[in-house]
């Protein structure tokens, strides 16, 4: 087990419009990408972000060694209950998650 952030180059998140947030995992190399793709289980990522697995979009982008997740924002950007206007801190949940690599 290892912390994802210690294995990959960078994990970032950002709003994709007011209703979505997107999380990009930059693996940094094809070798790391090959290890991380199977280690990141879609259902576990959905549970981490507390979203139904069918609402989590996943893109494994081999050319860039990037794994991308997009999910409906848990609260709409800027609404009363929003705590993070740009959605950029959500990345830490995945960055700090333990993965089996």
């Amino acid at each position: 087990m290892a912390r994802l952030g210690d294995v990959v180059l960078k994990v970032r998140s950002k709003n994709a419009g007011p209703f979505w947030v997107t999380v990009d995992v930059f693996c940094g190399s094809p070798e790391v990408y090959a290890k991380v793709v199977p280690a990141l289980v879609t259902g576990e990522v959905a549970a981490l972000y507390r979203v139904e697995p069918q609402h989590l979009k996943r893109f494994d982008i081999e050319d860039l060694s990037v794994i991308k997740f997009s999910l409906p924002r848990p609260v709409v950007q800027g609404s009363r209950d929003d705590r993070d206007m740009h959605g950029a801190q959500w990345a830490v949940l995945l960055e700090e998650a333990d993965v089996r690599v």
Partner: protein
């Protein structure tokens, strides 16, 4: 016909490399395009109809771009003027432009492309079944649409082309898609449609698609087969990786991008390094569809007053959660007995613990041992007066409330006086929908003005 587009930066107001801009002008572009906003910073700009950027920063950068335009002798286009692209912010940008025209002695034809939507038009479209929800969309009704403080539709390439067709030197566009100002001219001149939209998406954030994101200036050459992108700062380079990775940025889908009248599909795109700093892209596809424009709207969702107290005493830091729960229950009774208000519709009072889970709330899964905890109280009420009244009412208790009944009253750290601040209106985004249009211009209007202020410099 090949088209050279100069993009000075990702947004007006964030700065750009002036030497790179000069290089861009010397390269004889066909048009200069810059974005003026987005929804990135939240619903306030659209709700209130004001720019989030300072007028001074906007004016100083626009001055440089107006000079660059005069020198290049080509149109200058700003999309989503004034952050949200409502009619009021288009006019704000227009006023700045006229001021600068006087200061610079420029004679100008200025086209304003307005994107604001009267509620009646959207209600009629809703009733005609021409409004479709995107996923996820808030529920809408005629009454809700009537309650929005601003509604804008995102213009595409067609509306920008119509503004350019007036022969304007400067186009000040209201809300447009991020890409529309850049794709408009290449599409008009018959360049590759997939390449036009893809190149526009790559360039819309300026040098963010390069190895030196803050340098700003990007040049894109569009032609019949695709596009070539090149950063103009000497320190920057575009690589196949930096360019293709930009499709990830703020996109929920890295392969498809919906625009008015169709979508861009970049699954087949090939990114090739021409040399150390230029990248060639071919193979992206434009897929035509129904002509729809995306709608954005914001409304007032209450008025807020906030209060901040800092707990430094170790016992209170460790017991911060319990303290806030006890305080909240007490304050609920106080507000009920003194103001006759029940929590819920009438008001909400939330305390967020900064240092514990301030950013992530219920999603936080780490527990730390903070030195201090910031307690941010947020009151949301039906009017500012009521929110302010609640803020004053809770102030002494946020300062002095004890963890148990049997102890001396504590006093926490208030960072300023008064401890409570009135935030004004809380706005919220209320639309994630598209509207079908038969004629792209039917929801937009163009106003052309000529300003003459002496010989152009």
């Amino acid at each position: 016909m090949p088209t050279r587009v100069l993009v000075p930066s990702g947004v007006l107001g964030l700065g750009f490399d002036r030497a790179a801009l000069k290089r861009g002008v010397d390269n004889k572009p066909d048009i200069i395009c810059i974005d003026g906003g987005s929804t990135d910073s939240g619903p306030f700009s659209l709700g209130a109809g004001v720019s989030k950027y300072s007028r001074a920063a906007t004016k100083s950068e626009w001055r440089d771009l107006m000079r660059a335009r005069a020198e290049a002798g080509v149109p200058l286009v700003i999309g989503t003027a004034g952050t949200c692209g409502a009619d009021a912010t288009v006019d704000w940008m227009y006023d700045i432009t006229v001021e600068l025209a006087v200061e610079l002695g420029q004679n100008l034809k200025i086209a304003r492309l307005y994107s604001s939507q009267p509620a009646d038009r959207i209600i009629a479209a809703l009733e005609a079944g021409r409004i479709r929800p995107l996923e996820p969309a808030p529920a809408i009704s005629p009454a809700l649409l009537d309650s929005l403080s601003n509604i804008v539709a995102l213009a595409g390439a067609e509306q920008v082309q119509a503004a350019l067709a007036t022969g304007a030197d400067i186009v000040i566009a209201g809300r447009t898609t991020d890409t529309a100002t850049i794709s408009a001219l290449p599409l008009l001149r018959g360049d590759h449609a997939g390449g036009a939209w893809h190149g526009a998406k790559i360039a819309e954030c300026g040098a963010l698609c390069s190895t030196h994101p803050t340098s700003g200036v990007i040049q894109v050459d569009f032609d019949a087969d695709g596009f070539t992108v090149e950063p103009l700062a000497e320190t920057a380079a575009c690589t196949p990786h930096s360019v293709s990775a930009h499709m990830l940025y703020e996109n929920s889908d890295p392969y498809q991008l919906y625009e008015p009248g169709g979508y861009l599909d970049v699954r087949g795109a090939r990114y090739t390094a021409l040399d150390e700093r230029r990248v060639r892209v071919e193979g992206s596809r434009w897929v035509k569809g129904t002509y729809t424009v995306k709608l954005e709207g914001a409304r007032v969702a209450g008025y807020q007053t906030t209060i901040l107290a800092i707990l430094r005493n170790e016992r209170y830091v460790k017991g911060a959660r319990a303290w806030v729960e006890r305080l909240s229950a007490f304050l609920e009774d106080e507000i009920r007995s003194r103001m006759g208000l029940e929590p819920g519709e009438a008001y909400t009072l939330e305390f967020r613990l900064i240092g514990v889970d301030g950013a992530l709330g219920g999603q936080e899964n780490r527990v730390g041992d903070p030195v201090e905890v910031g307690v941010l109280g947020i009151v949301t009420a039906q009017s500012q007066a009521e929110a302010a009244e609640i803020g004053k009412l809770i102030n002494p208790f946020v300062l002095h409330y004890p963890l148990t009944d049997h102890e001396e009253l504590p006093t926490f750290a208030f960072p300023y006086s008064p401890a409570q601040s009135d935030r004004g209106a809380l706005y919220e985004f209320a639309l994630n929908h598209v509207m079908e249009l038969d004629d792209p211009m039917s929801a937009f209007r163009i106003v052309v003005t000529e300003v003459a202020h002496g010989p152009a410099r």
